[in-house]
Structures are given as C-alpha cells and as structure tokens.
C-alpha cells in the first residue's frame, strides 16, 4: 500500500509538532531525555496518525492495536504524540515529571489511560507485547501488537529470552521496532557493548528482519506494511534514526541521551525545528 504525498506531508507536520512539544516539555521539566524522543518523533507520528487502530476518546477500546513503549525513558515523545492525537490537552504535556502529574518521568499504566503498560527498566516490553500477541491469537482476535525498543536496550538478556520465545511461537501479529540510533548513555552502542550483527541475531531467533529509515516516514511506513504481509514470523524493523533529529547541533551526540535542554537551548532548538535547520525562513520561524 503506497502512501501518497499528501499523507506524508501531513505526517511530517505532526512530527514537527511532536518535536516542538517534546522540547517544550523537557525545558519545563528541567530533566529527562532529549535525543531519543526527538529521533523517534517521525515513528510516533506514523503510529499515532497513520498506523494504529485506536480511539483517543476511548483508550480502552477492545478493538485497539496494542502499542507498547519498552524503552520508557523516551516517553516524552509518546506523551506528545498522544496529546496531539487527542488523548489529553497538549498543555498537560508541560506537567511532565512534576508532582501530581499523570505524565510520570517513566510511563505508568495506572496513571494515564492509553498506556498499555509501565516501563522504564529495560528489557521488559517485548515480553509483555509477545504475551499480548499470544493471548490475542488464543482468543481469535485480529488486533495487532507493536513494541518500540531502544538499541541500547538490546544489551539486556531478557530481550533475548523474549525474542526466542516470540520467534518460537511465530507471533506474526507482533511487530517490533528497534530505535537504532547507535547511542546509549555511556557512548556509542558499538563501543559500550557491540550489537552487530543485530539483524543476524534476530534472524537466528526466527524473526523476519526489515531495516528502514526511521526518520523517513515513507520508508518506515513501508516497512510496517511489509511486516503486516509476513505471516510466518514476527517482524522486527531496525529503524535507523538520528538521535536528536531536528536539532542539528545535538544530532547524533550521545551526551544528549539523558539530559534536557536549558531554557536558552530550548528556544534555539525550537527555532531549529520550526525552520527545519534554517531551510525555512519567514513568519513561521
């Protein structure tokens, strides 16, 4: 299924709004992760505005697809996408990480409708997604299950316990996405604990493996459509993204994994996002 230019343009707009909101919420929070959420903005725009069967006004709708965020530290991008999709007012995003907020530093299912689970500690989302896919198949339901993981997260042994189990059961109703931005807190993934060949690892566990440009909506959505067509295996999309995407001065810089922008940096970053790195000028900027 091809995606027309109009749809792509609309999704790009959504991704831009998500990025702006992410920067605003991180500046307001004064702590949190910057690079991952910015890198994932296109993927989250694609999910919430194109891929997912869901109803923001009825988050528990039984017919919804299950969308699990395993690397919970990137949750600002999910909150921003949910808010823009209509789950809650965009202004509530500014309560991120504040006392009494539904938007916890790491997502908690019981606090905010629309979250499928609680996450943050790594290596737990794939297991939960796999069990949901298994249970949905037991019950003859057609809902799809998606799970987003980080690449640094692949260091966790329990990811591989879950990967083997998912492969064994040929859970083709499950699609995993790995945010392959090559950075983690202590440096480059290949320096910290080499993951490559990542594709071969998943293939060995009986997965169908796709690679896509996670900052190119057409590429990413195309991969998801291909995943839907695979019936024999679960699919993992290794989505190559640029950490910090949209703000050239922090792109691909691991030092931005775990810190928020200051107010001044935030202003500058917002300007970068709004002008697409200076390519757009004029009143909008």
């Amino acid at each position: 299924m091809d995606v027309n230019d109009e749809t792509i343009a609309a999704l790009e707009k959504h991704a831009e709004s998500i990025r702006e909101t992410v920067i605003r919420m991180l500046v307001a929070a004064g702590s949190g992760h910057t690079a991952g959420p910015l890198g994932l903005a296109d993927i989250f725009a694609a999910f919430y505005f194109h891929i997912l069967e869901h109803d923001p006004k009825s988050p528990d709708w039984d017919g919804r697809d299950r969308f699990i965020l395993s690397n919970g530290h990137t949750v600002p991008v999910r909150y921003a996408a949910m808010a823009h999709a209509g789950y809650f007012p965009v202004e509530e995003c500014l309560t991120l990480r504040k006392f009494g907020s539904r938007l916890q530093g790491h997502p908690e299912r019981l606090r905010l409708p629309g979250l499928e689970t609680t996450s943050g500690p790594l290596g737990e989302g794939l297991s939960q997604a796999a069990a949901m896919a298994y249970a949905l198949r037991m019950d003859g339901k057609k809902n799809r299950v998606y799970v987003v993981m980080g690449d640094g997260e692949q260091d966790e042994g329990s990811v591989w316990e879950a990967a083997m189990w998912t492969g064994k059961h040929k859970l083709s109703n499950l699609t995993a996405v790995i945010d392959r931005n090559n950075i983690q807190i202590d440096g480059m993934t290949e320096d910290v604990l080499p993951l490559e060949p990542l594709r071969a690892k998943y293939e060995a566990a009986n997965w169908h493996v796709l690679e896509a440009d996670g900052n190119d909506l057409r590429s990413f959505i195309g991969a998801v459509h291909e995943a839907h067509a695979i019936y024999e295996k679960p699919t993992v999309i290794i989505a190559h993204t640029v950490a910090g995407k949209g703000v050239p001065e922090i792109e691909f810089d691991y030092r931005w994994h775990g810190k928020p922008p200051t107010k001044e940096e935030g202003k500058r970053f917002l300007k970068e996002i709004r002008t697409m790195g200076g390519k757009v000028t004029g009143e909008y900027a």
Binding site: R66, E116, S127, S158
Partner: protein
C-alpha cells in the same frame, strides 16, 4: 487443645497423619481454577514436573505455556497475559521466581498492578539435597516489601489448593510460596481459608505464649504446643498463611492474651514473617518476641528433616524458644 472450629484432620498429631508437598496443592488448585475460569493460564520455566504445572498442562494443554529457562521473560509475559485479560500463574523455583526475576516482578506486576500469580516452589531448606543455591530463604521478605503484592505461604497441600483457587478469583498480584518435600496435611476441605485470614490451630484457657507460624512449619508449631501442654505450659498456635496483608485482629488478640510471641517460618528470621509480626506488634502492642527462622545463614545439602532440625526450625526448637521466652520474660 486443638481448635475444633479449624476442622483439622482427625489424624493430626498422630503417626498416621497423611503427608504431601504443598506444591501438590498448586497442581490440584490450578486444575480446579482452570476448570472454573477459561482465562486461567499457567506458565512454567522448564520445571513443569517438579512444580506440578504439568498437572494443569495435562488437563489444558492449550492454556499451558512453556517458557524455557527464562524466568525474567516469564514474569513480564505474565504481565502481558494479564493485560490481555488472562489470569496467569507463573511457576518456577522460588530461588528464581522471585529470586532471579525480582525487578521484572516489581515493575511489570507490582507497580503495574497486574493480575499475575507468582508461584515460588521449593522454598526453604526442606528442598533438601539440592543445597543452598536452591533453598530460597529470602522470598517472603522480597515480596512483602512490594506495594500491591499479597503474600501467602500455605500450611499444607490442602490449604495450598484452596489458596490457588482463591488467588485465581482475586484480581491483583499475589505471591504464593510452596515447598518441595512432603509435610503433614493437617487441614481438611472443611477447614476455613480465605486470603488475609489467620487460623487458630491450638488454644488454651490461659496461654503464656502465642506461637505465630506461617507455611508448613505450622505443623511443627502444633507439635510444639502439644509437647508444651504435656509439661503444663499453655499456648495458642495461630497459623498465618497470609503474611501480607496480616490478619491484624487475630495477631493482636493472640499477642494480647498471651503477652509473649514466638514466630515461626522456614525463611531468614530477619525480614520475613517474623519481621512483619515484629513491625506490627512493636507499633500496636509491644510484647517480648522471639523469631524462629534461619539465622542469617544459607542452607546446605541434606535430608529435609535433618535440615529443618539443624537450622532450628523443628518442634523441639520451637518449644525451646517458647520455654525460654516464658522463663526470661
């Protein structure tokens, strides 16, 4: 004297008392729960025979889920099944479940308030020959510290069966603790059980010591009470299968009447059941208290009875703790 309201086995305190491991209660109870509710599923980490999960598998093969030697995955799978409306029991040895997979349980089950029943088999030194690595002595402590988590250590196979059936009906996270070796079946189908309720096994007119016990050692507590009665020392034995939440009224009543408390558990004496009782009573009704349990040590290989005696957990040691408490306090 034995509490008639407990409707205990007629053979209790005789040589003819039947024995069975509490893990058998898991086997029977899970099949019963599976019949009552089509959403019950059992997950097991490559130990289906020894956990008795295979009894469920035989009855409901399509609802039995083999996980392999992967307890962390099993815990989070449990949370996923619960999120999809199933009632998962996740079974392995307590040393690994919750020993190995504690953080997965903490985040995906306790914090998430998932309807998962964590089943830890082979708890305590009575595992026997396998030795210290497999003799879990810290699980009650680990699990009772978790918010949202209910903790149950059934006293015998029959009570374990009831606890499993009750757990399936109770929405929310529960830890159930089972033992490997055969222990006396002192309760009957008529013995009352509900989550959060303690059961008086032995009572006296003027008890001088309240023996509060959890798990299968409650039978040893009962034997101790009988021996003490024979020498004129009156006691009350309160069996407390639900370590959390505590049956506060029953604990207060027993401690209030006796004025001295001995706690008994097949677990580290620090941080477990005795710790829970000590925390509660020190705030609400401070009394002299002795904790019978493993004294900051690991287990070792041996026969179950031999080990229970060696680590000071049998009737003789419980009686001695009671005598010393009466003598000194």
């Amino acid at each position: 004297m034995l509490n008639p309201d407990a409707k205990l086995s007629e053979k209790v305190l005789t040589d003819g008392v039947e024995t069975a491991p509490t893990r058998d209660g898991f086997g029977h109870g899970s099949v019963e729960a599976g019949k009552a509710d089509a959403n019950v599923v059992v997950l097991c980490a490559d130990l289906s025979e020894s956990t008795r999960a295979e009894w469920f598998e035989k009855e409901f093969p399509e609802r039995f889920i083999e996980v392999g030697v992967a307890e962390q995955n099993m815990a989070a799978l449990g949370a996923g099944f619960a999120a999809a409306g199933k009632v998962p029991f996740i079974a392995s040895y307590a040393a690994f479940n919750p020993g190995r997979n504690y953080e997965h349980i903490r985040t995906t089950i306790a914090l998430n308030e998932s309807n998962v029943k964590v089943c830890g088999m082979h708890a305590g030194v009575s595992v026997g020959p396998d030795g210290a690595t497999h003799q879990m002595l810290e699980d009650i402590g680990l699990m009772r510290m978790l918010p949202n988590m209910i903790v149950i250590a059934p006293g015998d196979a029959e009570e374990a069966r009831k606890a499993v059936v009750a757990a399936a009906k109770h929405g929310g996270p529960i830890y159930l603790r089972f033992g490997r070796s055969a222990t006396p079946v002192f309760t009957t189908p008529d013995t009352p059980f509900s989550i959060g309720k303690a059961l008086t096994l032995w009572d006296s007119e003027n008890p001088q010591v309240a023996i509060l016990s959890t798990g299968s050692l409650s039978y040893e507590a009962l034997r101790a009470a009988k021996a003490l009665a024979d020498e004129g020392l009156e006691t009350v034995v309160l069996h407390v299968p639900t370590v959390k939440p505590l049956d506060e009224a029953a604990v207060l009543a027993a401690a209030g009447r006796a004025g001295r408390v001995v706690t008994v558990e097949e677990h580290q004496a620090a941080g477990g059941f005795g710790g829970a009782i000590a925390e509660f009573l020190s705030a609400r009704h401070p009394v002299p208290l002795t904790r019978v349990g493993v004294q900051d040590r690991f287990g070792q290989s041996g026969d179950p009875d031999e080990l229970v005696a060696h680590y000071g957990l049998d009737a003789a040691h419980i009686a001695e703790a009671a005598r010393a408490l009466v003598h000194n306090a």
